[in-house]
Symmetry: C2
Subunit: 242 residues, 2 copies
């Protein structure tokens, strides 16, 4: 059973202001929830249509109907469970290795996919501009497929951070150097830009190493790659020689 108050709380967590005020977020599906449980995210409560999975303390779970799950789920095809977790305390930025900086990323699916790509390539730190989509947006959490537990994400003033860092700064631009022919370091900051506008002029000024992913189509009409796709290609290049 799902009480009116529980229903109200869970649906409110679709909005950032309520996630902030309650310091809670939710995830759906056995796989994602299990990964969060395994990674020491603190469970607040699990709502499930199947009492046996995932395994948590009895007092922390409620059996609900499929109809009730539909009401609280943000998925087109709801899985069998939804869990509320506490938002963990922010961890300091790890200033080593490769750091991915996301300038005004707005699409939750893109941020989630980028976390998954970072996790694959062993990038442990993402820094986002403050206007970027919230990490605990349910669509981001879902798209990470559990990688949210293994990549540290901080929301900061990117310009301020980049002015102060000693790490080399990389970014992709239409007029940059061919990434396939550029020697890339093991440490540095890689900036990826907003879906529609790319990297902001303020950050572009600070970006000493401009890279470009060559385009091969004979017509040269494809305007751009999706930002998650471009991130995958860029990280693959940074890692392939390491």
């Amino acid at each position: 059973m799902l009480s009116k108050n529980q229903l109200k709380l869970i649906t409110s967590l679709q909005q950032k202001k309520y996630r902030l005020s309650y310091q809670l977020f939710f995830a759906e599906g056995v796989k994602v929830i299990q990964e969060l449980l395994d990674s020491n995210f603190e469970l607040d409560h699990l709502y499930t249509t199947q009492m046996d999975s995932p395994r948590v303390l009895t007092q922390k779970k409620s059996l609900i109907s499929e109809n009730e799950l539909k009401k609280i789920s943000v998925l087109a095809s709801p899985n069998s469970c939804l869990a509320i977790f506490k938002i963990p305390n922010e961890i300091d930025i790890k200033q080593s290795g490769l750091i991915l900086a996301l300038d005004s990323i707005r699409d939750p699916g893109n941020l989630g996919t980028i976390l998954r790509i970072c996790d694959w390539f062993g990038i442990e730190q993402i820094i986002c501009s403050k206007d970027a989509v919230d990490l605990y947006n349910p669509k981001v959490v879902q798209a990470t497929m559990g990688s949210i537990s293994r990549v540290n994400v901080n929301y900061i003033d990117l310009e301020d951070f980049i002015v102060k860092t000693k790490l080399p700064i990389y970014g992709t631009f239409m007029d940059g150097d061919n990434i396939y022919k550029t020697k890339l370091p093991k440490e540095g900051i890689i900036i990826m830009g907003n879906e529609a506008n790319g990297i902001s002029p303020e950050l572009e000024k600070l970006c000493k190493n401009k890279l470009m992913i060559p385009r091969f189509g004979s017509l040269q009409k494809t305007e751009s790659l999706n930002v998650a796709t471009a991130t995958a290609i860029v990280l693959s290049e940074f890692k392939r020689f390491s």
Copy 2:
């Protein structure tokens, strides 16, 4: 104004069976529609809230209200126009260069993104298994961002085609050879597998060159990359030395 019959026709085109029987599909947004017009897709009719854009013959367009557009759009935030086009005749498979073979791709966003990636890397031919998501699904059309006009897609029996071809066959697997250390050809067929199950056992048997995208995370817990992400990395590798 949108008549009842027009409304009925357009919404029916969300379903493959009606697209097949009418031989029509629709696209939304000025940019995508303009690219299709520029690429000789035959316009059936344009429904727009702004009479001046895109430019088409007067008898081929109708001014509709934003409310009417909402009723026929599949987008969360409808653009200003929706156009119905004729499905073009199938073109023969181009048996040269790199061919991407998609085994049971089901997600429309993935197929659309993959077309956009192929377009970027100059891959002009995709072959899909017959159970793959339909190219003219509105979500596929939208995700291609116009690339649908520059990449040829055929739905065929992949096994049958691959048995007969003389081109070398490549595919990605968890236990393949490190793609970063493998010499890759300029011509060949690259198989990408289904979102949940990867490449089918039948096709795996025919795949003489097994590749693997190395994983760098220290925990090695990321199970997989999204198929569009993996396609981007694989095509980048095939093209980077060319």
